[in-house]
Symmetry: C2
């Protein structure tokens, strides 16, 4: 206890007493994830305002032998930002909340870079870029509260990866407080730098287990000046993959989103989200929301997309489709896509799989997984949608209508096993863009080779020998 009191005093000295929370009520929002799946315990929550303060906090935690859980907007889906319960470190854990570190440090227009602190909300970075006449392309449903630090630590993806890449591809430099409290200043704005191991890529996607990211240099892009959005019905997932191939073949990088949406996903949105309606008259098993963008305003993308779709209509892949005639029509179809998770939440409990596959194996996966699950849990509703252009499916399950929650949840381990075994057999990944966190920490051992697990543990031991950085996550 006196150790803890001493640590609280040191932390209060570092960040100011107002930024150390110890009351249960004050701490509560930091100790559970937003889906309510995990509840953790922590000695306190500390909210630093600068890199120097973070470094001092890490030093203090080293001195007190206390572990740290970095947290941003707390929008993660795998419990990676929630402390463990019981604590995974003998002397306990503190939550280090980065949201006070929310400065845009610099924008360099000629270099097309923006330097931001880890606590910046993604949407505010998008807005700062737009105000400077540039695009920061990372875009995902939680962008109004997710922070850049979390985006980096989970290598966030979202709906524009097809064109612009994951968070990893959007990052040129990092500033990180390492496990020993030293600051690694890797805030470089360089497209080419071959001077040693790429520490940046090691820290990105490490879920806070190797160090605490405090700032980043991110890439900016020219703002698109033309856009065409379509909602089309396709005959099958294989048809969607075929269509994607032909679209990219003629339109290249202009294909900036290509999202597949199964009928049951659309149905949930239409049922639960007010003011939504189906874009097409008939009901189809599969639809694709696709978007082309171009910096060139003179290319008449809408007209071109219409031509392309008309040409496709004879081929058997495309069953029907509509090109948005206005920004509000485009917003309306995006609204359908962005509300799937919310609609599924309203419908009731769900089992989620955030998986990826080689694009060439997606159709086979869906066909085989559907069959397996129908046998295992008759009546189960498969809510399948995702970023098919990146091979990333959200293969989610809602319970059969008469089934009760307990029975459904009791079946989760078997269902997860079935889905993930199939993903693995087809060369895929059991976590495409959400990370491992607490949710898949144990399960990943089934699928990673011993060599790879050993390599990961060697790196963890080398960079965080005392195990103070986000223990119990990922490894």
């Amino acid at each position: 206890v006196s150790d803890s009191l001493n640590l609280f005093a040191v932390l209060a000295d570092i960040v100011g007493p107002a930024h150390v929370h110890r009351d249960a009520g004050d701490m509560a929002p930091f100790l559970t994830d937003w889906r309510g799946r995990y509840r953790g315990q922590a000695l306190c929550v500390v909210r630093p305002g600068s890199t120097e303060e973070v470094a001092a906090i890490v030093a203090a935690c080293n001195a007190a032998d206390v572990a740290m859980v970095p947290q941003g907007g707390n929008t993660g889906l795998v419990g990676g930002a929630t402390p463990c319960s019981p604590s995974r470190h003998a002397r306990g854990e503190i939550v280090v909340c980065l949201t006070r570190m929310n400065r845009i440090r610099a924008i360099d227009l000629d270099n097309n870079t923006i330097t931001v602190e880890a606590g910046c909300i993604l949407q505010s970075v998008q807005e700062a870029a737009a105000a400077a006449g540039r695009l920061f392309p990372l875009s995902l449903a939680a962008e109004g509260s997710a922070t850049i630090g979390g985006n980096l630590s989970t290598n966030a993806g979202g709906v524009q990866v097809l064109r612009y890449g994951n968070m990893r591809e959007l990052t040129l430099g990092l500033e990180v407080v390492m496990a020993d409290g030293r600051v690694w200043d890797g805030l470089r704005g360089l497209r080419k730098d071959n001077t040693g191991y790429d520490l940046k890529h090691l820290l990105i996607g490490a879920e806070g287990t190797l160090g605490l990211i405090t700032a980043a240099v991110l890439k900016l892009f020219p703002l698109p000046r033309d856009k065409a959005t379509a909602w089309v019905a396709v005959s099958s997932p294989a048809a969607a993959v075929e269509l994607l191939g032909r679209l990219r073949d003629t339109c290249g990088e202009r294909v900036s989103a290509f999202e597949i949406i199964g009928q049951s996903a659309l149905g949930l949105v239409l049922r639960h989200i007010p003011q939504t309606r189906a874009p097409l008259a008939a009901v189809h098993p599969w639809q694709v929301l696709l978007e082309l963008t171009d910096m060139d305003a003179a290319g008449n993308l809408n007209g071109r997309l219409e031509q392309l779709l008309v040409r496709e209509m004879g081929g058997g892949c495309l069953l029907d489709g509509v090109v948005a005639k206005s920004e509000s029509q485009a917003q309306a179809v995006w609204n359908l896509r962005e509300n799937i998770s919310e609609a599924q939440r309203i419908e009731g409990i769900s089992i989620k799989h955030d998986i990826s596959l080689p694009i060439s194996r997606i159709a086979e996966f869906i066909a085989r997984a559907d069959l397996l699950l129908e046998k295992q849990m008759p009546g189960l509703r498969i809510v399948c949608f995702g970023h098919i252009g990146d091979g990333n499916l959200h293969y989610n399950l809602s319970k059969a209508l008469p089934q009760d929650n307990d029975e459904f949840i009791a079946g989760q381990p078997a269902v997860n096993r079935m889905v993930h075994d199939l993903v693995h057999a087809l060369g895929g990944s059991i976590s495409a863009e959400h990370g491992l966190g607490q949710l898949k920490r144990d399960e990943i051992r089934r699928y990673k080779s011993q060599v790879e697990l050993d390599l990961m543990r060697s790196i963890k031991s080398a960079l965080d020998p005392r195990g103070l950085m986000n223990p119990g996550k990922m490894l």
Copy 2:
């Protein structure tokens, strides 16, 4: 000696006696780099034909406590694939030449991936992709002999990075024999995979110091169907950066190359390379070779580029320019660009700097570096060219015409120091795309922070605790 003889016997068992070279004459080509700057010594050269053979070689070297130097096409510029002299390992080093491992293992058209062995020559991968109707975009002067393994280990760049990224961005998966002889099978063809530390990015650019890359899954792209190539004169490097900004603003990713070429670089090519001629009538201090490409054949890129350049002519940045009217005209201007290094080699000895900067600092760098060097070595000829769109300059120096070689070379350390100090002060990198190897192994210590050097050494110790992987390179 008997230890060595034993090792030779074991290696001959693994790869067959024909693939172990011990004669000085047989070994000679493997013991020097192509520029002839480094000469190393090795116990033998071994040429495995499969991943299993590489794994067995690494195990044998562990048993014999002998170090390994991986080598591909031997086209590196920093001595990274040449053994050290004296050997940096007490029991000596062997060269492991990967060029027999040159199979294209698979092409997946729907997934847009190609799986290749490390010994494949870059050009043969480009050709295999083209034969399948796809583009593998990595392109560099040495592509006719450089291998994929070397491209990966140095994170190669080249002339299309602006659009498609470095080798790092082009790679989805790796197969690597780790330092203990175990094979890490990370040959995944996934765009999204967030299941732990990104080992792939750690191995790429590691110059063979962490493991021996045996195969990779690489990204493929649609083939461009339209292309426009121009050679333009600009008033200054700052004008080139401005022009690039406006081009990307309207053309986006279509800008696939943007190469700056100083007058002295062009002059050397015109003097030494047969059948070359200046594309423009007047002599200008700076020119840019730029290229737009598009998958869409209907966009009339040539016409658009002409329009854009005409509009620029009034603005002060652009002084003159010509758009290639045919593929042979395009080849002719690319020929000027690709022969700069060769022309400089014919001219005589040179001091090279492969540096990168934030694009916003390039003009300032050139102005300040030119001034400093003119003071230091009057009459020195600065041969400056490079991938300005990536912030990457080849800031090379040829001796003053009356100066003798010894005097010039004696000045190299001071000149390097001056150039690299300025690069560092402006937030740049002293090795943009060639790596550190032996050439910059010591110098990098001046510019990397102690924290970063410590992190790199921790990783090296964790993954190669016995120091058997390419000792004396990078670290």
